[in-house]
Every structure is written in structure tokens, then in C-alpha cells.
């Protein structure tokens, strides 16, 4: 940039302009324009997102961005959700909190995903950040209700406490009662993951009744129906609500109380929970259905006829999560009723049974792809599929941006032709030009990867299992997918060659996970030597990979780029090229 242009705008003006630039990507671009913009931008950056907590150190973040107010961190790799990452692997948040406690006294938002959070970390948060507002712990673990009590007691301006899908130990502390009577600022509370012993109803009711700004409330499973109705009556302004609807049999007094409570909630747009729901109670929510945009019935064991009745009351639905009990007939009803549908997730009710227990096939998905013009995001578990259906879906819905298909049985072929699904997924990547996330399943050869490498230019995340024939498959993906950030692979015959040939590519990506593939420890060491800015971690609980015969392949491999160098909190079952035992300090 010519000097005169840069100096014609004062720092204050630039900073003011930058304050309108919220997206991280844009901010990164702005900071790369010139040195002075870099300087100005780094002082006024308020929000940080770190997709891999080991890619950078807290000290480095603090050094570059001294005045951060909001941070989001992610820890374990995605496959940790499916128990592929052994406990103790890492992802500890305490070092971050410790550093930030000193450097960011005005930090008010912490969002964590797949991290190990201890009570000590929570207590430190409660103590260190005076104006703390938002705490989101998604799929985290390592803390108990003691830690929650510390947060409740100290964070006077807390607006959001969201524990979605975390594992919380019950320390028998009535943590909810630790919110002082003067506390009134709750806007969003998600405690759906807590067990029955961890929430006191009376404390909950008192909390809800004194928080007039409460917009989102997600209760845990153990709240009975009459309590649910009471709480709803205390918070008719809710926009999002999640509750259990357990009951034994239909009781008209309970029903009318519940129906009345729901009818008061004119702002309600999103409903979830529904564990143990008895279909007879569903009509109690009909009064809000026409306004609902999001419905999560994926824990509800309701069968197709009742599901059809329900969705026919919800013409504004944009997001539906449901079990395969909905069946093809239910999805056809969805396709004709819900023209605004953008996201559909269908989960298996009985994933381990070889026989389907609900009549859900590829037809349901085809129907939705045809009937719902705004459909963008799909997660679909089923037991059979055909290339013809996939091609139809691709042609119907070129606007898909997330497509995750899980044909439950590995290596299942096209049920009509016996062919692999290369052509079907090929059609998906060819037609859906904005596809950013794709998960493959079923019988697949190297061909599908050739299509992916050729067409999926915007793809950022790819999940592969039980697919491919040779290294060529992996090579196609690594050499072709320009926007690839995350690649996770399991049980595929991909090995050293593809990895080493595409070593440089790995530095352009956030991470690569490979488990039960054909990569040798030698290749890992070589890669690690060649690429100093990659952390190459072998996860193997059978013992030192060095002690195995030469041709033995590693169990699991996690490669990620990092400017922080190797980490110091590796457990004994994580192996790197460094023999240095000093790297194995306890976390």
C-alpha cells in the first residue's frame, strides 16, 4: 500500500472502521495489509477463535492480542466424540485460564469445546474476571457441581451458562442455590446434561422467576411435567425451551396445565428435549407449533403417525432433528409441509441392530431433497442407499453445504446394483459446489476420492471410514481439495506414500486424523523431521511404536500444524519423534 494512502487515515479512524469488521477471517486479512494496520488491528481485536488449542500457546495469543474480551477454544479431535481418543490425551484448559487471568481482566466470554475443564479452572474463572458474562462448555469433562457453584456464586453479571453435552460429576452441592438472591441477569441456561440429583427444582424456579431476560432455558431430564408447566408459566418470554415430558399416562389436569403454559409463550421458536415423551401429551404444544423454527425430537421415542401429526402443525420449521422412527412416510410429510426446512438430522434409534426397526430408507431423504428447496444441511443415518438416489439428491439440491451420510453397516454396496457409491458421492460433490462438509460411508473405491479431489474445491471438512483401495485415494484428496482444513480417516488402506508426498499440504490444514490405517512409525518420524511446524502425534496404547517390527503400522495418528511447538502435557500413550522424556511433564 502506498505510504501516502496509509497515513491519510489516523489510527483512531482506522480503529473505528475495524470495529465494524467482526468476522475473524476478515480481521486476519485486514491485519495482513501492512505493518501499521497489523498493529492497529491487534490492539482492537476483541474476539479470538482457536480451532485447535495446541496450535498456538496462550502466551503467544496474549502477546499479539492484548485486549481480548472473548475467546473460543477447541481441544480434542472430532473423533473423540466416538471414543476413539483415549482418556487423558489432553485438551486441558487450565493453562489458558491461568495465563488469561493475569492478562485479560476484562475477559467476559469463554467458549470451550471438547476440553478438559477442572473445578480449579472454573474457580479461577469465577475469581479472575470481574464482568464475566458467557460460559459455554460443549462436550467438556473433568468438572463437578463444585465448580459450577463457584461460577454461580461469583459471576454477578453472568448471562449465559451452557453445559451442552458435557460430563459433570455430581459433588452433591446444590450449586443452583449459589446464585445469590440479587442475581437476575440470566439470559441463557442449558443444564440438559445434568443428572437428576444435580438440580434442585425450588432453586430453579426461584432463579427463573427473578430473571426477566431469560430467553433460552434447557432443563435436564428429571423435571416432571407439572414442574415443567410451572416453569413455563414463570418465563412466558422464552424463545428456546428444552424439557423432559415424562409422564405415565395422560392426566387431563396435567395436560391442560401444560397446554395453557405453552399457549402463553408467544415468543417460543425452538423446542427440544422430549425424553420419554408420551404421544398423548404432544397436542399440548400445538399452540406454539406454527411459530416453531427448530425442533429437536432426537431423544423422543415417538413413532411415525404421531410425528407426522406433529410436523404437519409446523409449517415454519427450519431445523429438524429426529430419530428414524419418522420413517419415509414421515419425511414425505415433512417435505410437503415444511418448505422452509434448512437442516435435517435423522439419527438411528437402534444403531446396533442389523435389522432396521423403522421403515427409513433412502426414499425419505430423496423426498426431502425434492420438497424442501432451502435444504442445506443433512445428517442422515440409514441402512440402505443407492447411487441413483444420491444422484437425484445432488441434482435436486445443489445448494447443499453440509452432507453427512452414514450407512450403518460398513462397506454396504448400492442395494439396487451392488456397485460402490463412487458415482453417487461424485454427483454430490460435482453438483453441490458450495459443499463445505462431507462424510462418506458405504462401499467406496479410490474413484470417489478422485471425484472429491476434482470437484470439492470448497470442502473444508471430510470424514472417511472403511473406504478406498490404496494410497491413491488419500493422494487425490490431499492434492485436490484446496480448501481442506480437517480430514479424519479411519479404517482405510492409506499409508506412507500419500502422506509423505503431500507433506506440505498438511501445513495448510488444521489437522489430519488417521486411525486403523496403514501408516508406519518410520513415516511419522520422517514427516515430523521434514515438517517442523507440524506436530505428529502417534496414539498407541500397545507400547512404544519403536519396539515393534518395522512393518507394523501405528494405531492412531493425529497431525496438526502448530506455531507453539510440541506440547508438554502428552500422556504416556502418545508418541512423537522426540525421545526427550522432559516432554512428558504432568499437565
Amino acid at each position: 500500500m502506498p505510504k501516502r494512502l496509509a497515513s491519510s487515515l489516523s489510527d483512531e479512524v482506522l480503529e473505528h472502521v475495524f470495529s465494524f469488521i467482526q468476522s475473524e477471517k476478515d480481521r486476519n486479512v485486514v491485519s495482513a495489509v501492512c505493518k501499521s494496520w497489523y498493529e492497529i488491528e491487534r490492539w482492537c481485536r476483541r474476539k479470538i477463535f482457536v480451532g485447535n488449542c495446541y496450535a498456538v500457546s496462550p502466551e503467544m495469543v496474549i502477546r499479539r492480542f492484548p485486549q481480548v474480551r472473548s475467546i473460543e477454544l477447541k481441544g480434542k479431535p472430532h473423533f473423540a466424540d466416538f471414543n476413539l481418543v483415549p482418556d487423558g490425551w489432553g485438551g486441558y484448559v487450565l493453562p489458558w485460564i491461568t495465563e488469561m487471568a493475569g492478562a485479560y481482566p476484562w475477559l467476559d466470554e469463554i467458549r470451550l469445546k471438547r476440553m478438559v475443564v477442572t473445578d480449579e479452572s472454573l474457580e479461577l474463572i469465577a475469581k479472575s474476571f470481574k464482568d464475566f458474562k458467557v460460559l459455554v462448555l460443549a462436550s467438556c469433562e473433568g468438572f463437578s457441581t463444585d465448580g459450577l457453584a463457584a461460577i454461580a456464586a461469583s459471576c454477578k453479571n453472568l448471562r449465559e451458562l451452557d453445559l451442552r453435552e458435557s460430563e459433570v460429576d455430581d459433588s452433591s452441592v446444590h450449586w443452583l442455590s449459589h446464585f445469590p438472591e440479587t442475581y437476575t441477569s440470566m439470559v441463557s441456561l442449558n443444564i440438559s446434561c445434568l443428572g437428576s440429583g444435580e438440580v434442585s427444582f425450588s432453586a430453579l424456579e426461584r432463579l427463573v422467576s427473578r430473571c426477566p431476560n431469560l430467553r433460552s432455558l434447557k432443563l435436564n431430564r428429571a423435571v416432571p411435567l407439572d414442574k415443567t408447566a410451572n416453569i413455563l408459566r414463570l418465563a412466558p418470554q422464552l424463545v428456546e425451551f428444552s424439557a423432559c415430558t415424562y409422564s405415565a399416562e395422560l392426566r387431563s389436569d396435567v395436560f391442560s396445565n401444560l397446554a395453557g403454559a405453552f399457549s402463553n409463550c408467544k415468543e417460543l421458536r425452538s423446542l427440544s428435549g422430549f425424553w420419554d415423551v408420551v404421544p398423548d401429551y404432544l397436542p399440548a404444544i400445538y399452540s406454539v407449533c406454527s411459530r416453531l423454527t427448530s425442533l429437536n425430537l432426537s431423544y423422543a421415542t415417538i413413532l411415525s403417525p404421531d410425528l407426522i401429526k406433529l410436523v404437519s402443525h409446523c409449517p415454519s420449521l427450519q431445523r429438524l432433528l429426529v430419530l428414524d422412527y419418522i420413517e419415509d412416510s414421515g419425511l414425505e410429510a415433512l417435505a410437503s409441509n415444511c418448505k422452509d426446512l434448512q437442516e435435517l438430522r435423522v439419527f438411528p434409534s437402534d444403531p446396533f441392530d442389523a435389522e432396521p426397526n423403522a421403515s427409513l430408507t433412502e426414499q425419505g431423504l430423496v423426498a426431502v431433497s425434492l420438497g424442501c428447496p432451502k435444504l442445506q444441511s443433512v445428517l442422515y443415518f440409514c441402512r440402505r442407499m443407492s447411487n441413483a438416489a444420491l444422484v437425484t439428491i445432488a441434482q435436486n439440491r445443489p445448494n447443499l453445504n453440509r452432507f453427512r451420510l452414514c450407512i450403518i453397516e460398513p462397506n454396504t454396496a448400492d442395494y439396487l446394483t451392488g456397485e460402490p457409491f463412487d458415482v453417487g458421492f461424485g454427483a454430490i460433490v460435482e453438483h453441490c459446489k458450495d459443499l463445505i462438509r462431507l462424510s462418506l460411508s458405504g462401499l467406496l473405491t479410490d474413484c470417489v476420492f478422485e471425484y472429491i479431489g476434482k470437484y470439492a474445491k470448497k470442502l473444508e471438512m471430510l470424514s472417511v471410514a472403511f473406504a478406498g483401495d490404496s494410497d491413491l485415494g488419500l493422494h487425490h484428496v490431499l492434492s485436490g481439495c484446496e480448501s481442506l482444513r480437517k480430514l479424519e480417516i479411519r479404517d482405510c488402506p492409506f499409508g506412507d506414500k500419500a502422506l509423505l508426498t503431500n507433506a506440505a499440504k498438511l501445513e495448510t490444514m488444521q489437522s489430519l486424523w488417521m486411525s486403523s490405517c496403514s501408516v508406519s512409525f518410520e513415516a511419522c518420524k520422517l514427516l515430523s523431521q521434514k515438517m517442523p511446524r507440524l506436530n505428529v502425534e502417534v496414539i498407541d496404547e500397545r507400547g512404544p511404536p519403536d519396539s515393534r517390527p518395522e512393518n507394523c503400522t501405528v494405531d492412531k495418528l493425529y497431525i496438526y500444524r502448530s506455531v507453539a511447538g510440541p506440547r508438554f502435557d502428552m500422556p504416556p500413550f502418545v508418541w512423537t519423534k522426540d525421545e526427550d522424556l522432559a516432554l512428558r511433564l504432568s499437565p
Binding site: N83, G88, A222, D276, Y299, T301, P348, P351, E409, G418
Partner: protein, 253 residues
């Protein structure tokens, strides 16, 4: 106890890993040798067709099959076991699905004064009636999924999926692999009698039951153990002897 007896009803497990379903293609399973077959386990796995959860193997550090397993051509079911982490369903959701029935029991103790035993039984009857046409979704056998395991002297606890095991032997083997990694071949460990159970090792396996008491693993029938275990602890035998817990720890048979 009706749950326990339904466990005993054995039916074929029809899941055939590596079978080409509905296809004449006869394509060999190309996956690497990570898929476990019946050869890896001394006891063939069976599961109830009525939604009982066939085990998903979670021995961390998946074991190789001794050879690339040759798939059978379609048809006859073989007792094969699941693969770790497949299908890709979050453990949170998995535990939720299997806890559908189980959640009803502990809630009785809570502020749930309105629900009495009679109502619970009625619900079950209704469930059975409704389920006649289609498999009843709630007819789950109450597996509790993943439970914590701690070992004396090791800071970091682990988790084990009880659904993956059909016997004490298999559970003990898995725990030995997790915590007491030895240099020997993996396959040997599976067939060797477990030291944890026979009292010959310096460690002994105990568990905390529903009532909060610590018991020696192995003295009650496996199914009964599954319904009452809350978490596991691999305790030093010396500590067991000195234990002043006051609970009666029964002898292992």
C-alpha cells in the same frame, strides 16, 4: 429382575461385518485388519433382536484380527462384534438412548413424589401393548454404557463401555490391557485367565454399586452386576486388606 432374564434370551446376532448386503458383488471387505471378528473373543457375542444392545468393543488400542477376515457370502449370520466408535454416534446420545428406561428408576427417589410404582408398571404395560406392531423403542435392556475406572496410583481415570463385554473375563482383560500394559502379544492376553479376578495379582478389581457400597467384582452374576455397578476401581490388594470401609467384601469365587 425381569430385565436380567431377558438378557438370557439368546438370539442370533445378524450383524455381519464385511458382508456385502443385498449385493451380488462379492466384494471383499477392504478395510484393514482392525475389524474384530468372533475369532478374537472366546465367547461368541449374541444379542437380543428386541433392541438389546450388542456390544461395541471399546478396548482402547484396537486389536488386529490375526488375518484379513474372509467374509461369508450373504445369508447366514455369524457372531461378529462391533467396531469401536461405529456407527459414529456421540457417547452423549448413545448413553441417552440406552438410559431411556433406566432413567425412570432413580427418579423415583427424587422430588418426583407424584409418580408411584403403580404408574410405572402401567407405563410398562402400555409399552408392551403399543409395541406389538413395531419393536417398542423403550424396550431397552438398561445398559449403562460407559463407566469410570480408576486405578490406585494412576492419576488419570479411564472409561470402559460395559456394553462391550458379556463376561467378567472379557471386562478384566480389557482393563488389564488399559492399565497394566504388558509387552506380550495382545492375543495371548485375551485367552489367559485374568489375574485381576483370581486374586493372584497385586491388584484387585472392585466396584461401587447403586447404594454406594464397594464390592469385589465377580461375586454376583454378570447381569446383576451390570444393573448395579456405578464405577470401578482397581485397588491395591494390600489396601484391600487394610481397608476400614466397613463394607463386606465378598470373596471371589
Amino acid at each position: 429382575m425381569s430385565e436380567a432374564s431377558s438378557y438370557l434370551a439368546e438370539t442370533e446376532l445378524e450383524l455381519g461385518l464385511g458382508l456385502s448386503i443385498g449385493g451380488p458383488t462379492g466384494k471383499i471387505n477392504k478395510a484393514s485388519g482392525r475389524i474384530l471378528t468372533a475369532k478374537d473373543f472366546p465367547v461368541p457375542r449374541r444379542a437380543s433382536m428386541n433392541g438389546g444392545t450388542p456390544p461395541s468393543v471399546t478396548v482402547s488400542g484396537t486389536k488386529r484380527a490375526a488375518d484379513q477376515s474372509v467374509p461369508h457370502d450373504g445369508g447366514s449370520p455369524t457372531a461378529t462384534s462391533q467396531v469401536v466408535g461405529w456407527p459414529p454416534i456421540r457417547s452423549y446420545r448413545m448413553n441417552s438412548l440406552v438410559n431411556n428406561n433406566q432413567a425412570k428408576a432413580p427418579r423415583a427417589e427424587e422430588e418426583h413424589k407424584g409418580i408411584n410404582e403403580e404408574e410405572e408398571e402401567e407405563e410398562e404395560d402400555k409399552a408392551i401393548k403399543d409395541g406389538s406392531k413395531q419393536k417398542k423403542p423403550n424396550e431397552n435392556l438398561g445398559h449403562i454404557g460407559f463407566i469410570k475406572v480408576n486405578m490406585d496410583g494412576i492419576r488419570i481415570g479411564r472409561k470402559v463401555d460395559l456394553n462391550a463385554h458379556s463376561s467378567y473375563h472379557s471386562l478384566a482383560s480389557a482393563l488389564e490391557n488399559m492399565f497394566l500394559r504388558s509387552a506380550g502379544a495382545e492375543k495371548q492376553q485375551l485367552t489367559m485367565p485374568s489375574k485381576l479376578l483370581d486374586g493372584s495379582s497385586e491388584f484387585v478389581l472392585t466396584y461401587e454399586d447403586k447404594e454406594g457400597d464397594w464390592m469385589l467384582v465377580g461375586d454376583v452374576p454378570w447381569m446383576m452386576f451390570l444393573t448395579s455397578v456405578r464405577r470401578l476401581r482397581i485397588m491395591k490388594t494390600s489396601e484391600l486388606r487394610d481397608s476400614t470401609k466397613g463394607t463386606e467384601l465378598k470373596e471371589v469365587n
